[in-house]
């Protein structure tokens, strides 16, 4: 049979985001896959070197459209660590609640992408609707639906509006009430099982070898979560579980997404109960005269897709000297995707790719 080269994406129905894969196929079988990022390259890391510390704060969130919040968090943490800024206790709790809401919102989006790609349009539409409810919460808290620009160095930008706690509880209850419906229609659907189980199977050894993070790693039976390893915000104040599965295939990864969402909702309720009163922001230096002492730092958070790191260097000036993001989609989307696609069917390309939860803008930062 003849070997063909097939361009998959970036304009492709099964492809989410500006990303493409070049496939070498023989019939239906993939011999070799090459990831092709770069369609969304905006040079964020370089841009940040030309903006002052405060001007970077509205910029970093744009690196990731689906979950901008963990980007804000990791930047705020790096600045706080370099400049030794304290964060008020209440702000830590608000940050945790906000990040968990973002995780739910991001997972719902991921669920939409995955179920839509598989053809489960009903579940996909539900997920999109429920994500919108989360966005309504963000709109009320921060004034924007997608780029919230909320976690700024020193705390958060504004306190909860009046009655916001109750609103979170109400919204999450209404989404949580639909979990049985989701289970019936999607997660416990035989078609989903048949379509996803055994697809894109990654062994534990390979997961460690290729640096898998997030669901991809946890689906192979390893329990790993930055919120536990290096607690930040208020994660050391609450008890929560890390969903782990053994099979390492697309099915396990998507079920972990569901379990994480449920776990996040429980965590939000616990955090809201424990949330102290008080200030939410410690004033940062005058933005026009803000110089951060010379130094370098590496901070990391658990984003919805796994470990997100930021390495930042200051030379004592008013702008960062060097910024580098270690994004979860980078490992999952380039190395692991190429490996998992080898030997798979063309019909499973989207399946594998989206189950790895790849978000292209993160790779092209």
């Amino acid at each position: 049979m003849r070997e063909l080269e097939l361009y998959f994406g970036p304009q492709h129905m099964g492809m989410v985001g500006n990303f493409s894969i070049t496939l070498s196929v023989e019939g239906d079988k993939i011999l070799k896959a090459t990831s092709n990022p770069g369609y969304l390259h905006r040079g964020f890391e370089k841009l940040m070197e030309y903006r002052t510390w405060i001007q970077n704060f509205p910029l970093v969130c744009r690196i990731n459209v689906i979950e901008p919040d963990s980007m804000e968090m990791v930047y705020a943490m790096a600045v706080e660590k370099l400049n030794k800024i304290e964060v008020p206790e209440r702000a830590n709790f608000i940050r945790s609640v906000y990040l968990e809401l973002a995780r739910v919102g991001s997972h719902l989006f991921g669920l939409w992408a995955y179920s839509n790609m598989l053809g489960f349009d009903t579940a996909a539409q539900w997920a999109m609707y429920h994500r919108d409810l989360i966005l309504d919460l963000f709109e009320e808290l921060t004034g924007a639906r997608v780029y919230h620009i909320y976690i700024n160095p020193g705390g958060v930008r504004r306190d909860f509006p009046k009655g916001f706690k109750e609103k979170i509880v109400k919204t999450l209850h209404s989404i949580g009430g639909c979990v049985p419906d989701y289970n019936d229609v999607f997660f416990n659907n035989r078609v989903f099982y048949e379509r996803a189980s055994g697809i894109g199977k990654l062994s534990q050894g390979d997961a460690i070898k290729y640096g898998a993070v997030g669901q991809t790693l946890n689906a192979t039976g390893i329990s790993s979560d930055i919120r536990k390893i290096e607690p930040y915000a208020a994660y050391d104040k609450v008890d929560f579980n890390i969903p782990v599965r053994e099979n390492g295939d697309a099915h396990s990864r998507i079920l972990i997404v569901r379990d994480e969402m449920i776990e996040s909702v429980h965590m939000i309720f616990k955090l809201l109960d424990q949330m102290p009163e008080g200030e939410v922001w410690n004033r940062t230096p005058n933005p026009f005269k803000w110089n951060i002492p010379e130094g370098e730092t590496y901070v990391r958070v658990e984003s919805s897709r796994g470990e997100l790191g930021l390495y930042m260097v200051s030379d004592g000036g008013d702008k960062p000297y060097r910024v580098h993001f270690k994004t979860p989609s980078y490992n999952n989307g380039l190395v692991i995707l190429e490996k998992l696609l080898k030997g798979a069917n063309i019909a499973d390309v989207g399946n594998i790719m989206i189950s790895l939860y790849i978000i292209a803008p993160e790779i092209d930062r």
Binding site: T122, A144, Y147, R157, Y193, N286
Partner: protein
Amino acid sequence: MKNMKGSLLKPFKAVRFLFKKPKTLRYPFEPKAPALRTRGFHINDWEKCTGCGNCADICPNEAIEMIKIKELKTEVGKKNERPQIDYGRCCWCGLCVDICPPGSLKLSRDFFHIHFDTKTFVFIPKDERIDKEHFFNGKDYSILKASLIHRKKDYDGYTSDFKYTLFNPERVPMPEVKPEERILSFIEQVIGYNDEEAKNEAERCLECKLCEEACPAHLKISDYIKAIYEGKPDESLRKIYEDNPIPAICGRICMAHCEDACSLSIRGESLAIRWLKRYASDSIKDYKAVLEQNIVKPNGKKVAIIGAGPSGLSLAYFLKLQGYDIEVFDALPGGGGMLRIGPPIYRLPLESIDKDVDYIASLGVKFNFNTLVGKDILFEDIYKNYDIIYLSTGITVSRSTKVKNSDKCILALKFLKENKIGKRQKVGKNVIVIGGGNVAMDTAREALRLQHIQYPSEKTIIKTISLEDWDIMPAKEEEVIEAKEEGVVFNPGWGPKEVVLDENGKIKGLLCMKVKSVFDEKGRFSPTFYEDKELFLKGDMIIEAIGQAPDFSFIPKELFEKIEFTQRRKVKVDENGQTTISKVFAGGDIVNINLDAVTAIADAKVSAEGINLYFKNKKQNSK
């Protein structure tokens, strides 16, 4: 896991959703109300906006540009510029809202803009109160009308919150001697910032330069504050000396017009510009080594300056650097003029004055102290022997209330002068000060200290009466507060009627009458009283501090007649500081109505330019 593989039939449960009402909003018929904090298009309250440009400076996308608005006037603390926003660049982050010092810039809940013309995406936000034409009531608004020029009224979204402003509204507190301690001696009340405090205070500056326009002498304030922030007081002092040669003095007693204009003062406390100037001058021990100023080759032109006050000193400095031959005459034993005798030692120690004066003298300016023009040297001789005469004699004669028996009272200037450079005066146990200005405050607080020193364990009283009520009290607010802290009793709204004497001819007290109004309808000073409402204040000493007048008795009659005066009895000068006699220039309190040091410096700057121009024109005419 009971059934990992899942069910084939259960998914069909979703069919029941076909019979439910859709969750989707039928937009635009069912519009969705934006949240209260929505970050939509900008609204700017033009009346509050100062045109400081901080929004343009912080914008990460350079979407904001400050545009000159012709209809607006530039006034103290306000520029005639307003922000213009390019919505092709704006990212709605709201940093401009959080930095806005007056809090005039807000984001609205409008976020639709539909237009064929891309030029409409660049626009100058206004506020509905000014722009009634384009702001609709909610019910008149529809998506069809949605655009930048058609907006909803009262639709504020993300607004400035004082708790979350990016600027720091709180001043670094100035360390001061406590009131109970400072009234016992003449120790300088303000201790001064240390390096760290000065740096922290300097960090608050937003560099909007509203202060520089408000300062009569236009000091490069944001530059010297920045130098302090960078830990370079020497650089700061060099910047100050470009426009102000008496920083140690001004750093203590300047009226600080700049601080009134400071954009931080609108909602918070203004930057302590005066204290930072004081820090810059105090932290440099030897001006000469730091300033390294070179004097250009002498040009042989002789200038006589009469009066070594701030105006005279400044002119001497400015002209000396340009090579003029300067001689200064002053009746007092040292430089500083009114500042040498007026502000008490706890506000302005003599060492600080001498520090500034000594530097000017070290440049080669010749000072003739203890020389009263008209007595020790005749004005005619000066007039004959010098190319230019600069009058900066100030207002040196205290006015009296001229009420019955007022000859028994003491005049404030005499009192202050004697205490500062002569012998300490004996004060009564119950002193009344007449006046509500800064001199009255100085007098009262000075007398209070003397009382505590002279009657250590006895009860003593200081009272002030002033025509002006609290709201129009001419004294600076902080001075009134400090006087109150120290125990001065105020009686605002009362005017003196008669000094009451006892049978021995000694002062028994002051009879006062209630003030009806201080100013007439044209705003001129013309007090009226209720003759029947009286108040008797007991006292054994009365000091009058109701203002001063200039003394021109040293000028011979034939010359004096040539000098013209303005309606407010000030020496008339043109835009170059030149009086109606061509070789006589004037500045300071005899010219301006602000009656403060920094305006006197400004006058000197004008005259320095004017004198250069005078010689330039003369040279051209002689050719």
